[in-house]
Symmetry: C2
Subunit: 338 residues, 2 copies
């Protein structure tokens, strides 16, 4: 068990290293922080912290830098999320309220997050699985060709072309449209399958093939679209670390282009809690020297998607966490209003 002072030393090391980007020695530490002890004592504490794996030295006769384990302890026990100042909150809110549609909300969010944290921002589009249906529209494009348009409560629109097994009359189409909407509007996507299960039976025999095709396309859309889209921004911020890690930037850029990797990175969408993954805690190898701060956001009480930032392990955790949390909160509000 580490003594209170040693934890204090670790906190000081993290803060100084994050601020100066240089390894920090015992003397500099006592000068900048009021630890109440001499450099020699700090040196002893440092030796213990190194023994325990919280800090390391790049080479002999250099200062110490925190390890992933050190950052972990810092985040878990030593740091408080730094709340945004009232002017900052207002600025965030104003900026997001200027959005005209869902695409714009997401685009603004990612830009805002990148700017606030000066890191790479990732925002996931609101998930369809947790959304409800606002409207389903069926359009006749040709005698045996329909277009299905699905509109969600978060303003998202998905469309699919459907080739019908047989021509489908305008009255049947209106009937199907009305029945579909009356059954599933306002319902959750996850509930849709059982709600439409017996729908074909309500139609004439000749139309049942088409109705079934439409329904299976609809269900397919729901499933496929759980493969979420996301937007990233602020990649230029990566270059701020290029002199430290000239060779790590490439795998990071590569990882950021892989949607699948990013989705895993943000974590399970159903979990609304803020989460910090540090260095090797990230499964993806290219991101071993980065940390990811992610949190769920949603229009109601629960999370519909996640957003977060990717930055170097040596990041300002309290500030980043504060910014991420604040942005998530306001995006949630905006979505709830619209």
């Amino acid at each position: 068990m580490l003594s209170e002072r040693r934890l204090e030393v670790l906190r000081a090391i993290v803060q100084d290293y994050v601020g100066t980007e240089e390894s920090v020695g015992s003397k500099a530490l006592t000068e900048r922080h009021n630890l109440g002890v001499s450099p020699a004592t700090v040196r002893n504490d440092m030796a213990v912290l190194e023994e325990e794996g919280y800090i390391a030295q790049p080479h002999t006769s250099a200062g110490r830098i925190p390890t992933d384990k050190g950052y972990r302890l810092f985040v878990d026990r030593l740091a408080a999320v730094k709340p945004m100042s009232p002017p900052e909150r207002r600025a965030i809110q104003n900026y997001l309220e200027g959005a005209v549609d869902l695409d714009d909300v997401v685009a603004r969010t990612v830009r805002l997050l990148a700017q606030l944290t000066r890191q790479v921002a990732v925002v996931q589009y609101p998930s369809l699985t947790r959304s409800t249906v606002r409207h389903v529209e069926l359009l006749s494009m040709a005698p045996a060709r329909l277009m299905l348009v699905l509109i969600t409560d978060t303003g998202r629109v998905e469309q699919r072309m459907i080739d019908c097994p047989a021509p489908f009359g305008e009255t049947s189409l209106a009937d199907l449209r009305a029945r579909l909407n009356s059954r599933i509007v306002g319902r959750r996507f996850t509930d849709v399958p059982q709600l439409v299960q017996d729908l074909p039976e309500a139609f004439e025999l000749e139309d049942r093939g088409t109705v079934s095709t439409v329904l299976s396309t609809l269900l397919e859309t729901l499933v496929e679209e759980t493969e979420e889209r996301l937007i990233i921004g602020g990649t230029a911020n990566l270059t701020r670390f290029v002199h430290d890690f000239p060779l790590t930037i490439r795998p990071v850029l590569e990882a950021l282009e892989e949607q699948v990797v990013l989705l895993k990175l943000l974590g399970e969408a159903k979990d609304p809690a803020m989460r910090v993954r540090i260095g090797h805690e990230n499964a993806h190898e290219g991101l071993n020297s980065t940390s990811v701060v992610s949190v769920g956001y949603g229009s109601g009480g629960e999370a519909v998607a996640k957003l977060g930032v990717v930055g170097p392990t040596r990041m300002d955790y309290p500030g980043t966490m504060g910014a991420v949390r604040a942005v998530a909160r306001y995006v949630g509000q905006i979505l709830a209003e619209s």
Copy 2:
């Protein structure tokens, strides 16, 4: 006027520099290329080429590297677009044909282009202005709230919420929907304004306000959406040059995040010709050490949008131009089929 041999020397310099990434001297040139003259002669030619501004030396006692002007001459007069090999063509076609919808086509195109050229790829979504209307749908979301859905012949879907000045009955809605579609389906977006101009007059006085609102929203959508969307990919390829230009990568990444800059970069969408902008020919400052190869693509005979790549001025122009041209051609085919 430069003699034939001097042009040959310039071509050799460009080729060697692009291949080796190192400044090229007179001796190495005569060894690698069959110029039929001695290094001394080449030196004289180089002196002339430098005088004329086609090449430069980074410092005395170093080899020569091409200037922007040198690349320009190379592209205009010395290089032939290198066609893709039949297996490559087939691979491109197969890959693009696997796409399931427009988003997927664009996503695959950008990935393909980045991979083929090993540079940053940019693909613009098919433009709405040159598209035609496939269908317009109006949905009643609430007594005085409508949703407008616009579907294009390229499969693109845009939606807008409309708050009406007065409640709008279901029969009026059906009427408006039918009239709108009969007038503008199959017509070009640019023709829409005059086609719907007199539409409010066909409605009862109490509905005219809503009809006007719907129409102005529709026209707004057409205008706003000429502000095109685009997708980029392959940014990780930028790091291949990071050792040459550690400090130029940042402005490039910043520029790539600005849609407006990118759109200007690709050039006028109506121009289908392949275009190469070299170094300082790019208006944007951050891209002064990059070249952009862009070309229009389209489903019919004319271009609906552009695509291209961004890379270092020191790029393989013939190969890059060949890849860009081939991809544009096949994307056009795919769009025409769907």
